[in-house]
Amino acid sequence: MEGKNVTFEARAAQGDTSRLPELASELVGLKPDLLYCNGTAAAQVCAKTTERLPILFAEVGDPVRLGLVKSLARPGGNITGMANLRPELTAKRLELFKETVPSLRRVLVTYDPRQPEDQESVAVARTAAGRLGLMLLERPIGAPLEMEPGLGELREGGRDGILIVQSGPHLNILGRSLEVATSNNIPTMYPASFWTKVGALASYGPDQYLQGKQAARLAHKILAGTPPRDLPVELPDRIEFSVNLKTAKRLGLKVPPPALNRADRVIE
């Protein structure tokens, strides 16, 4: 319980990954009992900053491919955490997007080519798009303003849509895409239900609240004395598909009953 048997010291890079190394060094200097890193970039920086302090990560796609752990079952080293399967879920996310909006023909995906998990997710989306008869508009960007031309290409009416493959605030792709989608009546598919609650049309991905609870269980085990190398990396307990019918109505779209039946959460 905070203040009774645990205290927290948090640092947030405000979406600017270049600040992470400095903030990680600052936190390591405080000699905490546990270093908790949220997001791929933060986890990579923490792993580079200390090989001694126990590290717990969350919101990381594939920690083995990123070199954070040796294997999911036996992480090794001083680090373990939660994998969110971000790239792997991209194909299913696009498939559900097409089921939710059958008129969909072109899908914009904006990404940072410097991020390996972004590249991987786009490659998965490309294959899935071919299978689903969709045209994927791939737009690599290096700065937030560079996403504007791609967003400006989209037209309302249900033929164009936006697929989000990121889960973090890097380059503000998630926030800006929703702003433009809302003002220009473009359907969107996000990786977390948080975004359907704030106006996205649909989402497919791990339940973030449950992921937090899973991470808390791992944190408890580490603080109780189990070394991270002995704690297997956990996968999400629950993946949910969420649809916002208020947004569908505003967009003038009728979500087919089979898609609605598959939804774990419907916002009306």
Binding site: F8, D16, L20, A24, L35, P169
Partner: protein, 35 residues
Amino acid sequence: MGSLILMLLLCGTPAAWAQAPKVFRVAILTNAFSP
């Protein structure tokens, strides 16, 4: 003597003191925006 009793009253017995629960310190790093 009086000050020793006062100290014991304020801090508890030395045995209880030794059993005081540890306060764990958890550091959090995120790329997100601070709440």
